[in-house]
Point group: C2
Chain length 331, copies 2
């Protein structure tokens, strides 16, 4: 098998479990102790799901994350969490308090589905919130103490946006999924560029739905793209419309490293669908919604963090060689 | 009545007809010879509607315009037209041929509903086309011979975009109406800023639908905003959803001159609804869709050009004093 390199920052430790012997036809295997975040994990928060984590390695905090918490009043908000091993998490009881550039309180309305990544020396949280429609929200932090909001990069209606973890040709790159006002029944993924994270343009189509049933209704970005020697590895969700509701599956593509609007390989098969009880049972059954990946460049190990059934957070594992080979083979 | 000034470029002549004596309760009156563009006006073009004109005054061409022509094959395209009086129009038989920045052919797919305006020494055409969904398209020209496309300013799905006719605080300003993939059943108007017409940001909500039936489904921009001593005068369309389809009425607002996201006055009443045979009868009955205004700062006269029933182009007249007073009174 061709050796693929992860071109990602070195990390101090890696959440990991070896592939079980009984997983033979799938490139991804679930953590045996899933879900890692169960119901009622924070006071006044009924469920945590669709959340993003990363290796931090500072302030006695190996792993840090931003978590979508659904309050007992039904409203979503973003909570900060810390972990020693990336699998067992402790949360701040109060949601993240955002400020504007003047330092004044500036909290988004109903933020949900946060993503998290680092570019150069700054961490960025990107979410969706209600700002005259579903709109992409952003904030930056250098210390996970002060979270400063940036202007929404796009007009509504848009969801599932995430930045690439480095500039390409001197520009920040964001992928996103234009949407509508409701449980959107369409959706393709686009790439946009910015010189400064303030003004955006050069919008280009990246990839759309296909005639594969598991992703024929809409698709949307997940974790920040993962740089590999084969191109940008992107995990995303693909949605099937059944007679009883939507089913969210996990798909994978590899994008050109210099022009990520070019899809080099795209797996015709999903990487994994909802199967386990925590994915098929919950407030929204049959949802696997990937939001983050922790990668270890020394071993090629990847841990995918995904929301399960809009109720839990779960983890699945793969190896970069194995997943890239699978995506190419199924392309 | 307070004297309001039009702060618009001087023009050499003005299409005009005095207000008839029988129009007593309305601030706007229709041209007696409407529609000014009838069916089959161009070879192989069945209908021209939703089109924009302006005073030009060069090349023996007093008035120039960009026209949505619906081919006999059903596809829309943009045609160039010229007029001596702003009321009688002649058209190029072939649609406008657009090029990219390298001068290579670069025609949009299905462009429709063009707007037209001048900023400094450059003319801009802005339309909606199909680019992986309804998307705003743009081109610039200095001579109406070479039309050079710019990148689409926003992600899909978006319609009814138009630039302001001058920069505000050093930035280009665009209003637009985020949409969806179909005959959109929602829609508010937003303002965006750009330093260079290439990258856009600072998106702000401008105005939304109201509980007035004539505009309770969606709204969308029309002519380029008109600068007056009272603020930016904006004519727009407001859509009512009846049991038999949509009805497009013409509304009016006045925006703050320095921050056009601030609506100073908004008429609760429409300025005019579909009433005449050419507005109520056609391929889409009951549509008045304003796309342009010709203004004479010396007399305060305004001619509004609007598409009628997706079939014709018609003209209506008003005076800046009268229309501003009406919008303020009905606000």
């Amino acid at each position: 098998m061709e050796k693929i390199k992860l071109i990602t920052p070195r990390i101090g430790q890696m959440p990991w479990e070896e592939k079980p012997d009984n997983i033979v036809n799938a490139p991804i295997w679930r953590y045996s102790q899933n879900p890692i975040i169960k119901r009622n994990p924070i006071r006044n928060v009924a469920r945590v799901f669709n959340s993003a984590v990363m290796y931090y390695g500072k302030d006695n905090t190996p792993f840090i994350g931003v978590f979508r918490g659904e309050g007992v009043n039904g409203w979503p908000y973003i909570y900060l969490g810390r972990s020693n091993d990336g699998l067992n998490w402790e949360f701040d009881e109060k949601g993240i308090q955002f400020v504007n550039k003047k330092g004044e309180p500036d909290n988004p309305h109903c933020p949900f589905d946060p993503r998290l990544l680092k570019i150069e020396d700054t961490y960025y949280i990107i979410w969706c919130h209600i700002n005259h429609g579903s709109s992409v929200g952003m904030a930056s932090t250098k210390d996970f103490k002060t979270f400063t909001r940036l202007d929404d990069p796009f007009l509504p209606h848009n969801r599932n946006a995430v930045l690439f973890p480095r500039k390409i040709n001197g520009r920040y790159i964001m992928m996103s999924r234009p949407s509508d006002t409701t449980h959107t029944r369409f959706g393709d993924m686009f790439i946009s560029e910015s010189p400064d994270l303030e003004f955006w343009g050069k919008h280009r189509f990246m990839m759309g739905t296909t005639d594969q049933w598991w992703e024929d209704l809409k698709i949307g970005g997940g974790p920040a793209p993962i740089e590999t020697s084969e191109g940008w590895l992107v995990f995303y969700h693909g949605v099937q419309h059944t007679c009883s509701g939507f089913v969210y599956n996990v798909g994978g593509v590899i994008l050109d490293i210099d022009d990520p609007s070019i899809v080099k390989y795209r797996s015709k098969s999903f990487l994994f669908p909802p199967e386990e009880w925590y994915e098929t049972t919950g407030i929204v059954p049959n949802v696997c919604f990937p939001c983050a990946a922790v990668c270890d460049p020394e071993t090629g190990r990847i841990a995918i963090y995904y929301g399960a059934a809009d109720t839990f957070v779960a983890v699945a594992f793969t190896q970069v060689d194995e997943i890239v080979a699978y995506i190419k083979e199924q392309s």
